[in-house]
Symmetry: C4
Subunit: 264 residues, 4 copies
């Protein structure tokens, strides 16, 4: 097995046989770490999915106010242990990767790093910014996506309707802005607090056209209500159509997949 | 007619002719109880569907506060009578079933038992837990599903999009968690009561991304509102796409059914 | 032209030529009243559609409180005049109909009668019930549907998904009831006013599963919120799927129509 | 190059060579201004899209109350400069257009004019109406649409379902009116403020059937709630179906486009 495929990163001066051995171990480990063909590979994956869920649950419980001291202590330990394990995983993935640079700068390589880095930075600094850094831990969740196979069909579907999605995203932004402009004109005098500026009105437009309708801002003038009706008649579709587009594209992606499998 | 198909459960020492007679009666009763081919079978089904509706309505009215004493008494009697009838139905089904064990542990066998058991347990115990047991009566409703035929096409459709539904359920959970994490970061300082922990924020995420929007929790900071907008643009589709998927899968299931019927 | 096609209703003893003349006039009038082939027929239809809109607008404005006396008087006259015209139209349609009995008991025959009858009954009685009778005037609106042609494709589409719609309507009712039962269990103790009975809980279930979410009733307990999340994950689809079904059935109805027109 | 294609508008008495030169310059400029084939044309387009975004953002920020004096001054200057540039663009487009009259009365010709006109009118009048005129600036946003190509497929899709969209718009209006009529009957006595007239009830119908549900008006009587349930069961679909229709029509438009490209 030639080492030509390994990009030279930190090739130390070691005896050739030693290096060849390590290369073969790396090859074997890579199959476990990067693929799910083998039983060991599947176990490795399941273990880390389980660890991610534990880390997420632990982090969520930590946000609860008035936690008993013992539980807070326990969760702190869970955090330390999971971060250490995730760090080991990152280093392992870096070591076994065919191209280390490509992994380090790949989507999941960056996420794997961002999932552990804040912990060390936070310990070092221990200041205001800690909280913002912790938010990055959110990326850990995306690791779950790594293991899903149905996602490829979703990507095909997104590719099929990419242009329409961009168009409707642009149209939705236009409609949102136009709605905000209109309601600002009708309501800003009647409700100077709720519709004080175009940005306040945009908040109304977002909650209304997505049909969330919290009820914190709503038109009270006759003009504003008629305008809301008109906006909803047109805007509802523009905000909601992309959903239908993705759904029908997924059906098409499934059909394309079936046609391909039938033609073989 | 051989008795070989009957699984030996409680075969008493009876004269052969007597047993053969009973077996033939069982055979005839089974057609009435389990199928809807015969007129008697359809009548049997309709009667029990009607009884389920009566039991459900009676139970619902019982929850109303300030019921007149007479009505409360009447509803109590309706409850006793329907439970007795449902118990008789359960025993009948158990008796006529080709394999008694298989029925007893089948989905509807368990439901039929759970629908009557709490009544007897409650009478025996009459304590705190009674209320929780009564909730199981809800399963009676699922009996209605037993009699629907269009449901088979629905099952085909669900099978077609099973993988996508799982993917989107997972994505929806991820998006819900990520939204809760984000809004917690933006709003927890401004509204420590409403967004006091990640679990409070999850409640906001659920009511927002499903577009229910009760209005009990909503962002008030500029950052929280911009974040809500971004989350809705992406998350709305992920929560709503499965609906479109099931709809188009149902169309496909109908087409598959037609093709099959045309090819005969 | 033989009179055989006219069902004998009130055939008076008139000279044959006179009666033949009337029959021919009826024939000509029928084309104007019942079809839109001729210019006069289209004008007749447009005139009555316009009158329906006037009657509806006039009725709506009448509900406004604090109307000036002059306007109230004017609207009263508009009401009298439109009712008289609609009565004349009803009698005309009755006279020209090929089969008078069939028209009188047809869907639109009944609606045409119900649209004018309350006015005369109300003038006669002038009591409490007047208001309820006026509600029937709503049926006038359905006259607009009479003139739409695209509606036939909609009927084909509804026929295609009839079984699924019934199934999902049944499922939706089950899910609504089950949701109400569950939330009643979780919330009735915490909010005895809002979730006082299963019927109060059903109101919550309706506003939640349709994602309207007024915000007048919502769960406050942790159990109730988790239950709401679970119910929404399953129930949202069941309530929303029929919409997608009808949409895809309409596409199919359009395709069927095109195929038929191509095959000719 | 003949001048025959130029519609005679203000052909001055100039030497033939001079006029021919100008015509060739116009020809070259037209390619830059009206098309995106050339590098200069794409740059021209991008510059103006960027300017529209700047003008929109500047206008939005201007609506914020309590702006510092310096920023207000700066935004005023941004407004003057963008309007001057847009005016120059309008005149340029008018000059290079093959048919000036056709451009002046085309959709985008009118919009380009309406986007700058209010500024000059407002400076001249400086009175109450200024605010209303400013609203017209909204049309500037539509310029963005000019540059989208995916919009042609959207137009095909709208053409495919035009009849259904009109039918459902009519049905939606009918359902809205019928809902308002019904809830007015049930709730006007219990809530004379919220459901004071049919127009108040229409506002409820709009917020309910679009599932926005602000929570400012909702039924409180048992009859009104049952009616709301019935209305939602039927009306939800009628208001939401058009969205699904447009989505499936877009899929069809994409398929038609692919078939056409394959057949070549």
């Amino acid at each position: 097995m030639s080492l030509g495929i390994v990009d030279g990163h930190c090739e130390l001066a070691l005896p050739a046989s030693w290096r060849q051995n390590a290369a073969m171990n790396r090859e074997a480990l890579r199959r476990v770490v990067e693929t799910t063909d083998t039983k060991a590979g599947r176990r490795f994956d399941l273990t880390f999915q389980f660890l991610i869920v534990i880390a997420v649950v632990s982090f969520s419980v930590q946000t609860l106010p008035d936690l008993p001291e013992g539980l807070r202590h326990l969760l702190g330990w869970v955090e330390v242990i999971t971060v250490v394990i995730f760090t080991a995983e990152y280093l392992l993935r870096l070591w076994v990767a065919e191209s280390r640079i490509r992994y380090a700068f790949s989507f999941f390589g960056v996420i794997d790093l961002l999932a552990v880095l804040p912990f060390y930075l936070a310990s070092g600094i221990d200041l205001r910014g800690v909280r913002a850094f912790r938010l990055l831990r959110l990326f850990r969740l995306f690791k779950l996506l790594r293991y899903s196979r149905a996602i490829s069909r979703f990507r095909v579907a997104l590719g099929l309707v990419r242009e329409e999605l961009i168009l409707f995203a642009a149209l939705a932004l236009l409609v949102l802005y136009a709605s905000a402009l209109g309601i600002y004109y009708f309501e800003s005098r009647a409700q100077p607090d709720e519709f004080g500026s175009l940005f306040h009105s945009l908040w109304w437009a977002v909650t209304t056209l997505t049909t969330v309708g919290y009820g914190d801002v709503y038109p009270v003038t006759a003009g504003g209500r008629v305008f809301t009706f008109l906006v909803l008649m047109v805007g509802l579709g523009i905000v909601a159509v992309p959903t239908g587009l993705v759904a029908s594209a997924l059906s098409e992606a499934r059909r394309l997949e079936q046609e391909r499998s039938h033609s073989y």
